[in-house]
């Protein structure tokens, strides 16, 4: 029966090529625009570490107090001071934890044919690697021993290893950063969490760092932050004054055994703040936050408003396209009243006619969807041309997306076809036959 309806649908669509083309074009354009914008949005709002995003938390401590809050927003700073970050590291309340900050170096290769170049670096603790499940190509991350020893070891990104050592296992070799030698302890495989969730104060999307070194070593070497640094007061001259200042510049992540442990950790953090209160450092009640990955992405506004507005407008556009299609389908189905009347008179029941009309709208949706996939692919190429590289290069057409596009087109068109179908079923066979 389906194949009969299908051939009927194709024949009927061929009879009014202009109206058919208009309907298919409307669906294709609507779907193409919507799916293009949605793909970008989807990439931006994705879960960067789905296996454990509900167990990874960012603690926030209000170290500036109510004086720093404006316009009713009493959220604490989004980074920690050195004092708090190291206190939280020592407290060891989670399964794993890591304080970290962005740094930058000039890297001088041993191979004199390669000119010195600039590398982005991350100073962090050994737990960083297992906590964020970074894939390793060679070797591994460092352990607590290196953290405590403030060892000059380094983990390279795949890109850096390819550039310096032509991709071979470089564990045990050494590289020079700003004049100091570091022993390679591990090489990461390609690692591109999107968003780059572990530090969204700088770039929220894009490459991860080229080298990773122990936090303790970086502090000892007085290596300053290349990332965001905020002070509420003059930190006074010198490195030691900077470390005890209330300037916030360190990101901190903690892995708890389960999502439920956040409450316990929150309570612990409040106790810590109360202790600081007793010591006279804070003169206000504890005002802390503990957020998991997804809540953190929301709090830090990782998905820009522009992306949300675009998705909204794209879906409104699809709605207009569907209304357009309803109108045209209505015209088309009612224009065939004679034929429908004839079929009814010859014994086709309402269910059969319903099926026929639904198949016809499905065929329009399928055609629109297939062209829509092509338009989405085209749209994504266009997006890569106009959008900042870091976001745009993430947006690709994949099998799941193609299926979603076609499914959305068919479902939307069939839904749009319901009213015209309902109207077609109301055709009175006798009246149609008589009047013609």
């Amino acid at each position: 029966m389906f194949s009969y309806y299908f051939s009927l649908a194709v024949r009927s669509l061929k009879r009014n090529p202009v109206i058919t083309a208009l309907m298919v074009a409307a669906i294709a354009l609507g779907i193409g625009a919507t799916m293009t914008v949605f793909t970008v949005f989807h990439v931006m709002s994705g879960d960067p570490i789905p296996s454990k995003s509900s167990r990874l938390f960012v603690p926030q401590i209000d170290n500036w107090g109510p004086k720093s809050h404006r316009d009713g927003d009493n959220d604490p700073a989004d980074q920690l001071t050195y004092t708090d970050a190291t206190a939280l590291m020592r407290a060891h309340q989670g399964v794993r934890q890591a304080a970290m900050y962005a740094a930058g170096f000039s890297l001088t290769p041993e191979n004199k044919d390669i000119k010195p170049f600039f590398v982005e670096a991350r100073a962090t603790y050994g737990d960083f690697f297992p906590m964020f499940e970074t894939p390793f190509l060679f070797g591994q991350g460092w352990s607590n021993t290196e953290d405590e020893a403030k060892a000059a070891v380094v983990v390279l990104s795949k890109k850096t290893n390819d550039k310096l050592f032509a991709g071979i296992n470089s564990v045990g070799k050494s590289i020079n950063l700003d004049g100091r030698d570091y022993r390679v302890i591990g090489v990461l495989d390609a690692w591109e969490p999107a968003p780059r969730f572990y530090d969204v104060t700088g770039k929220t999307f894009g490459d991860t760092e080229e080298v990773f070194i122990p936090f303790t070593h970086a502090i000892e070497q007085q290596i300053g932050s290349h990332g965001n640094n905020s002070c509420n007061d003059d930190p006074k001259a010198g490195w030691d004054n900077y470390l005890v200042s209330e300037c916030v510049w360190i990101q901190f992540w903690i892995e708890l055994p389960s999502a439920a442990d956040a409450t316990r950790y929150s309570a612990w953090l409040d106790n810590y703040a109360r202790e600081q209160q007793r010591l006279g450092r804070f003169t206000w009640e504890p005002n802390n936050r503990v957020r998991d990955v997804q809540a953190w992405m929301v709090a830090e506004k990782v998905v820009p408003n522009d992306a949300k507005v675009s998705v909204l407008l794209a879906f409104s556009f699809l709605l207009v396209c569907l209304i357009n299609t309803i109108g045209l389908m209505l015209a088309k189905f009612l224009g065939r009243s004679g034929e429908i009347g004839l079929r009814r008179a010859l014994g086709a029941n309402k269910a059969a006619l319903f099926a026929q009309c639904i198949v016809e709208s499905g065929v329009i949706g399928l055609a629109g969807g297939l062209i829509g996939v092509a338009l989405t692919a085209l749209g994504l190429v266009g997006i890569r041309g106009i959008f900042p590289e870091d976001v745009a290069h993430l947006a690709h057409l994949n099998v799941g997306l193609i299926l979603l596009t076609v499914a959305l087109a068919v479902v939307a068109t069939v839904l749009a076809g319901l009213y015209p179908t309902f109207r077609a079923m109301q055709v009175q066979p006798a009246w149609q036959l008589k009047s013609n």
């Binding site: 354009l29 930058g104 010195p116 170049f117 700003d178 396209c321 015209a331």
Partner: protein, 406 residues
């Protein structure tokens, strides 16, 4: 023109007419808001930085190895003198940051040493006496720094020097009723800094919404940053930007190869990068608007064509009874006008509603009122243009059709 018959005809095609009206309404709501956002973005992107953008390029330099402050100071001096001696170069200074790079240093500005909440936030540009000439910024009051006023600032130094130059916006915010020249403000710490000069206009390094209220509140601090890395801002002589850029990089490497020059960028590139997201949004919205107008127009063409086919006999009858071609065209145009007007009324309500919702949820601004009539006229003209081809076809239906049986 009798609109009675049009109403009775529409009553027989209620749903079709309603669908067109709905489509017109949604299109109007989206177009008004989208055009408004596009125009806002274009104005945002077009804001001047205040510097001679056409002739300026920026070199980012990083020393290899870790020199002492004294070593880095002398390396920096040599670099600046070398660049200044190049034939295509007008002037040079070194700094921590430049406008539109989205990275830098800001401070709260106070009128007294123990003020609770800062009067405003301001960007700090660390510069020397060559900065004004390099950026080609006009001094509107006071004077430029003297060479002996420029001090060195090492990585962890703190506190500001005694004098600085500020922008007009800075001056007006701190001293709205009097001249800021010679007045003191407190920025970093408890020590006052005197304003010795006021410049016309200079944008802060950031373009995000958080600097909305202080986008041009900047201070020039007479200190040379002594660091591993610095930015050299170079103004090329007119028409020599490209040659000066190449010559600068080659020359710097030839006097000292122990460095990384991570970028040499004309300012136009810095500007393009800073506003790429906003430009993308404007382009994306323009595409959606165009597609929307096309779809709506095609929808009107499609449905009107169908109605013409459906009413061939009636049209023929009217023609046989003496209606002119003009009458028939008018009929369809009036019909479209009525439907579109209903859509426009509904669309204006939707446009305002959509805008309010966007304002509340996405930090957008309130729609300027004249976008509504402008959008309405646009849609009205679009509808009339779209209905014209089917109306013309209707007018060509011969009166003889009336006499034929269907």
């Amino acid at each position: 023109m009798e609109i009675g018959p049009i109403f009775s005809a529409l009553r027989r095609n209620k749903v079709g007419a309603l669908l067109i009206a709905l489509q017109v309404a949604l299109t109007l709501a989206i177009i008004c808001n989208a055009l408004f956002i596009i125009n806002e973005r274009l104005a945002f992107i077009a804001r001047p930085t205040g510097i001679d953008e056409g002739n300026i390029f920026v070199i980012k330099n990083l020393w290899v190895g870790r020199g002492t402050d004294a070593q880095n100071t002398s390396l920096l001096q040599t670099d600046l003198q070398t660049l200044r001696d190049l034939p295509g170069v007008a002037d040079v200074y070194s700094t921590n940051t430049v406008p539109l790079t989205n990275g830098g240093w800001s401070d709260g500005v106070n009128l007294t040493a123990d003020q609770e909440h800062s009067t405003t936030q301001a960007a700090n540009y660390f510069v020397d006496e060559h900065a004004l000439n390099t950026m080609d910024i006009k001094l509107v009051a006071g004077r430029n720094f003297k060479p002996e006023e420029i001090t060195d600032r090492a990585e962890r130094d703190s506190g500001l020097p005694d004098s600085m130059i500020v922008t007009q916006e800075f001056a007006q915010k701190m001293f709205p009723t009097e001249s800021a020249l010679g007045k003191a403000v407190y920025m970093e710490g408890k020590k006052p800094t005197t304003i010795i000069g006021i410049i016309e206009n200079l944008q802060v390094p950031w373009v995000g919404s958080w600097v909305k209220t202080w986008g041009y509140t900047a201070a020039l601090i007479p200190q040379r940053m002594i660091r591993q890395n610095s930015a050299y801002v170079v103004r090329a002589k007119p028409g020599q930007l490209q040659t000066a850029m190449k010559a600068a990089e080659t020359k710097l490497f030839s006097i000292n190869p122990l460095r990384v020059i991570s970028s040499v960028k004309p300012f136009s590139e810095i500007r393009a990068k800073a506003y790429r997201g906003d430009r993308a949004m404007a382009i994306l919205l323009s595409i959606v608007c165009s597609a929307l107008l096309i779809i709506t127009a095609l929808g009107i063409v499609g449905l009107a064509s169908f109605w013409v086919t459906q009413r061939r006999k009636q049209i023929g009858t009217r023609r046989a009874l003496g209606a002119t071609r003009r009458n028939i065209v008018n009929y369809f145009q009036t019909e479209n006008l009525l439907i579109t007007l209903v859509g426009i009324v509904l669309g204006i309500v939707l446009a305002v509603g959509l805008n309010l919702w966007l304002v509340n949820n996405f930090e957008l601004t309130r729609l300027t009122w004249w976008y509504l009539p402008m959008g309405a006229v646009m849609i009205l003209l679009l509808g009339q243009a779209a209905v014209l081809p089917p109306a013309r076809r209707a007018a060509s239906v011969p009166p003889a059709v009336a006499t034929r049986s269907a």
